[in-house]
Symmetry: none
Subunit: 523 residues, 2 copies
C-alpha cells in the first residue's frame, strides 16, 4: 500500500472553531490520542500568538509522543525586523521540535492590501525566514497561504514566493486554499501546471470547506504530486471548517488504496472521531461519513430488505472496518423481521415465530402509536429489550417528583425540583434548583444518585430535542422528548413521550441514566 502522510491541525486551526476552546489538558489528550491513532504530524499551536500554546510544547519536551512529530506554527518574519531578531521565529525555535511550519503570503492582493509592503520585499522575507530556521537546524514546512487565489491572480508572483521558500531550504511546500473558494478541477489543474512550469512535483495540501469541497479538493491531487494532507479531526475550523481528516482517511484507505494509518488502527476511526468531539465539547454529527451514528443506518423498507440479502446493496463499505455499526431503524414502516434483526444486532436472540417476538412486536407498535419512535432512541430500545429479556437491573425506584416554576412581581424566576427515590433500599428525598425545570430535575436526580453510582459523573447531556406530535392540539399536544447523552466512549439517545413536557423529559432522563448504569455494570 502506498503511504501518504497526514498532518493534523485540530489543535491550531480546529481551535478556531466557533465555540471551541481547548485547555492545555484537552490539547495534551488530543495529541496523545492522535499519536496513538497514527497521525504523522500534529500541529500543536501558534506559540507566539497564543502563549498558552508554549506550555504544550514545554510539556512534550519532557513527555515526548510515541511516533508523531509535534509541529509549532508561525508566520514569516515581521517586515520591520530581520529574521534573526523576530520573536515569532524565535518562539518556533524555543518550542524545541524537529520540525516547524511557517506561512507566508502568496497572493499579491495580501502583500499590497494587508501587509502593505512591496512585492519583492515579501519574497525576501520568505527567503530569509526559512533560511534562518534551517540554519538553526530546523526541518521546515512552508504553508503558501492563499496559494490558489494567488496563483489565479498572478501566477508568476505566486511561483516566485514558493520558490523562495524552497530555495531557502524548506523541506515541503504546502498549497493552501485559505479562503476555501477553489473548485476541485481548478486544484488539479493548478497542481499540473505547477509541475510543468516549475518542476515542483511533491507538495502538501491544506484546504478549507467554504464550498463543502475541502475533502474533494484534497483528494484530487493525491497521485499527482500531493504527498501530505493537512486537516482537522471532524473538519473543525474557522467559518465552514478545514478538510475533515476523518473522512479523508476513510476515502484514502478504503477507496483509493493509500495507507493513511495502519489498517488495524482504521478500525478505531469512529472512536477517535467521537473522542475528539467529546473533548471539543461539540455534538457528534449523526450523518458524518464513515463514523456518524446514521452512516450505516437503514430506514426505508426496500433498503432494509436488500441489505439483509446483500449488505453491498446499500453499503459502500463494511461498517466494522471503520469501527462503526450497521443499524436498522425501527420505524413504523418496518415489520417483525426488522425487530428480530435489531434484536440480533443488540445480541438478543429473538426467534421470529416465538410468542416473545409477537409480544415485543405488539408492545412496540403500541408505543409507536403513542408517539414513541425508536429509530433514533436506540438506548431506550435497548433498555426495553433488556427488560423484556429479564436482563435489566433496577438501580433505583422513583416514588415521586415535584417541579415548581415561579415568577414573582420582582421578576425573579425560580425553578426547583424535588425527587423521591429508593436506592439500594435507602430512601432519598432530594431537592435542587436549576436553569429551568428539566435542569432542576436532572440536578436533583444526579444529586441523589451520584453517591451510589459515581460513574454518572462521566456522562453528560449533549442534546435535548422536543417534537410536538399532534400539533393541532396546541399547548395540550403530546410531546416527544429526545435526549442525547455522551461519555468518553459513545453517545446514546433516549426518549420520553407525554402530554406533559416535564414527564416526557423525566422519562428520557431516567432512561439515559439507566443506560449508562447498565453499560457500566457490564451488561
Amino acid at each position: 500500500m502506498k503511504k501518504i502522510t497526514l498532518y493534523d491541525t485540530t489543535l491550531r486551526d480546529g481551535a478556531q472553531t466557533e465555540g471551541v476552546s481547548y485547555s492545555l489538558h484537552d490539547k495534551i489528550m488530543i495529541a496523545q490520542r492522535l499519536d496513538d491513532f497514527g497521525i504523522d504530524f500534529i500541529e500543536g499551536g501558534w506559540p507566539f500568538s497564543n502563549p498558552k500554546d508554549q506550555e504544550l510544547f514545554a510539556h512534550f519536551k519532557k513527555h515526548s509522543l510515541k511516533k508523531a512529530k509535534l509541529v509549532p506554527f508561525g508566520s514569516t518574519a515581521h517586515p520591520s525586523r530581520p529574521a534573526s531578531r523576530d520573536k515569532n521565529l524565535q518562539s518556533l525555535i524555543d518550542a524545541g521540535t524537529e520540525y516547524v511550519i511557517i506561512f507566508g503570503k502568496t497572493w499579491d492582493l495580501h502583500v499590497k492590501d494587508v501587509l502593505k509592503i512591496g512585492l519583492e520585499q515579501n519574497v525576501r522575507i520568505i527567503y530569509e525566514s526559512v533560511k534562518f530556521l534551517v540554519k538553526k537546524g530546523k526541518r521546515v514546512f512552508y504553508d503558501a497561504e492563499h496559494f490558489f487565489d494567488g496563483y489565479k491572480a498572478n501566477p508568476g508572483y505566486a511561483l516566485k514566493t514558493v520558490k523562495a521558500a524552497l530555495d531557502a531550504g524548506a523541506e515541503l511546500l504546502v498549497l493552501c486554499d485559505t479562503n476555501g473558494g477553489t473548485l476541485p478541477w481548478e486544484v488539479r489543474e493548478v497542481c499540473e501546471q505547477l509541475k510543468l512550469s516549475s518542476g515542483i512535483s511533491r507538495f502538501g495540501i491544506h484546504c478549507h470547506n467554504d464550498l463543502g469541497l475541502a475533502a474533494a479538493n484534497s483528494l484530487m491531487c493525491v497521485g499527482s504530486g500531493c504527498v501530505h494532507i493537512q486537516g482537522t479531526m471532524n473538519g473543525y475550523g474557522e467559518r465552514c471548517g478545514n478538510t475533515d481528516l476523518v473522512t479523508v482517511i476513510g476515502v484514502l484507505q478504503q477507496k483509493m488504496g493509500w495507507q493513511a494509518v495502519r489498517p488495524k488502527k482504521l478500525e478505531t476511526l469512529t472512536a477517535v472521531s467521537h473522542f475528539v468531539s467529546e473533548i471539543s465539547n461539540m455534538a457528534h454529527r449523526d450523518n458524518h461519513p464513515f463514523v456518524g451514528r446514521s452512516a450505516f443506518a437503514h430506514k426505508g423498507g426496500v433498503h432494509i430488505d436488500a441489505v439483509l440479502k446483500k449488505p453491498a446493496a446499500y453499503e459502500h463499505v463494511e461498517p466494522s472496518t471503520v469501527g462503526n455499526k450497521r443499524r436498522f431503524l425501527v420505524s413504523e414502516l418496518a415489520g417483525k423481521s426488522t425487530l428480530v434483526n435489531k434484536a440480533k444486532e443488540l445480541e438478543f436472540d429473538l426467534d421470529k415465530k416465538s410468542p416473545k417476538a409477537k409480544k415485543m412486536h405488539t408492545l412496540i407498535q403500541e408505543l409507536e402509536r403513542e408517539g414513541y419512535q425508536f429509530e433514533t432512541a436506540e438506548a431506550s430500545f435497548k433498555l426495553l429489550m433488556q427488560k423484556s429479556f429479564k436482563k435489566f437491573r433496577k438501580f433505583f425506584d422513583l416514588l415521586g417528583f415535584r417541579v415548581i416554576v415561579e415568577k414573582r412581581e420582582d421578576n425573579r424566576l425560580l425553578s426547583e425540583a424535588t425527587v423521591k427515590l429508593r436506592i439500594k433500599k435507602e430512601l432519598e428525598l432530594t431537592v435542587a434548583e436549576g436553569d429551568g425545570p428539566v435542569n432542576a430535575l436532572d440536578n436533583a436526580l444526579r444529586k441523589a444518585l451520584l453517591k451510589f453510582y459515581p460513574s454518572l459523573e462521566e456522562a453528560h447531556l449533549t442534546d435535548f430535542k422536543v417534537r410536538v406530535l399532534n400539533a393541532k392540539a396546541g399547548t395540550a399536544a403530546k410531546v416527544r422528548v429526545l435526549i442525547e447523552s455522551q461519555d468518553a466512549e459513545e453517545s446514546w439517545v433516549t426518549i420520553g413521550v407525554s402530554e406533559n413536557i416535564i414527564e416526557a423529559s423525566w422519562a428520557a432522563l431516567v432512561d439515559s441514566i439507566e443506560y449508562k448504569l447498565m453499560k457500566d455494570s457490564g451488561k
Copy 2:
C-alpha cells in the same frame, strides 16, 4: 447565464433522514417555499409505498404550485405483474402530475441478488414500465439506481438498462450514485465514457454523501452533459445524506457561472435553508457552507484585521449575496439595511441613518446574541417594531405566575398554573390545570383574559416547537420556543428564549395573544 435545472427530493429522500418525520402540513409548507425559491422540480413522495404521500398530491391537484413541477416517485413494475396492472405505476398516474419519476436496477448484482430475476427480464421490465407511463401521457424521468457501481461491475449491462429506458421514451436519464461510494474523477470518467460509447450526452445526477463527496461528484460533470442535479435541502437523507442543494446552488451560481435560481432569489438561500431545518426540527449546522451562522464568522485576530481592510482577504464571496452575514466573533458589526428593509416590509418607515434605526439595530443584535431569531418569528418582530414606534397598546400587565408539576406515589400527574394579571385596572388571579405545564399556563392566561377580550376565542395554537440553542449545556441549555397560532384569517409565529422552558413558552404565548389583540384592535 447558462441555466441548470434543480430537482429537490427533500420530501422523499430527505424524509428518510434518521429522526425526520414530516406531517402533511410540513410537506405542503416546504413544497410552497421551494416553489417560491425557484426549484424546478419537487419530488413530493412515493405515493405507493407511503399512502400519506397520496394526500400531498391530492392537495396540490386543487392548489397548484406557482411554477415548480411536482413529481411523484416510484419503481419499475413488480416482476410478477405486467406494467399495465402494476399498482405502483398506477399510483403515479393517479397523482395527476405532468411528470413522474421511476427508478430501475442498473447493477447486475441487484438484479441477481435482490430482485432475483434474469438480467434480460429486468431490461424488459424497465422498457415496459417507462413505455406504459409514456403511453398514459406522462413525461418520464428515469433514475438509474446504482448507475456508477453497475457501470464499474458490468458496463455493457448497465448501458443496456439505461438505453431501454430511453428507447421507451424516458425524457431524461438520471445517473444515481446510490451507495455514495464513487469518487469525483470516477464520476467524470464514466460520464465521458457514456458520451463516447452510447452518445448519451445529456443526463441528470443523483448522489449520496457517504464519502463526503456528493456535492463534488454532482458538480464534476456539469458542463460535460449534466443538465439536472438532484439533491435535498441541507443535504438531508438516509445514512450520510444526499447532495446538499443549498451548497450546490451556491457553488454553481457564485463560482461556476451557472444559474440555478434567479439571482434575486439567491439572496434568500440562507433563509430557505433555515426554514427547512426548522420544519424538519433539525438543528441548523453552524459551519454549513454559505448559510451557516459561522460561515462568515471570523475568530482569529489576524483574519479580522485583514477582513476589515479587505473582505476578500478571508472571504471567498460577499455574504449578503446568499443572505448571510459577516460576523466578527469578538464584536458583532452586522449591517443595518436588512432591518430597514424588514421594517419597510411591515410598513414602518425607518430611516437608515436615524438614531431610532441605530437603537433598534442594537436591540436586535442583543436579542439575537441571546438566541432570538426573527426570521421565523415575524409576529414577535412586528410587536417589537410596534413597541419601538409607540404603536403598541398594552392589554394587560403580568404580575407573576407559578407552575407546579407533581407526580405522587399513586402515579397521578398534576399540572397546575396560577397567573396574576392586571387587566384594565382590575386585578385577576386565576388558576387552571392542563395537560402539561405550558397548556396549564395557556389555560390560566385565557381564562383571565377572555371576559375582557372575547375575540381571543377565535385564536388557537397550532404548533409548538422547542429548539435547544447551546446543546452542549444539556438540560441547562438555553431554549428557543416557537409558537404558531392561527385564527380564520392567518397564522403567525412568536418566539421566546430562556434557559427556562416555561419562561420561554410564556414569552411566546404572551406575544401570540398580544399579536392577536393588536390585530383585532385594527393596528
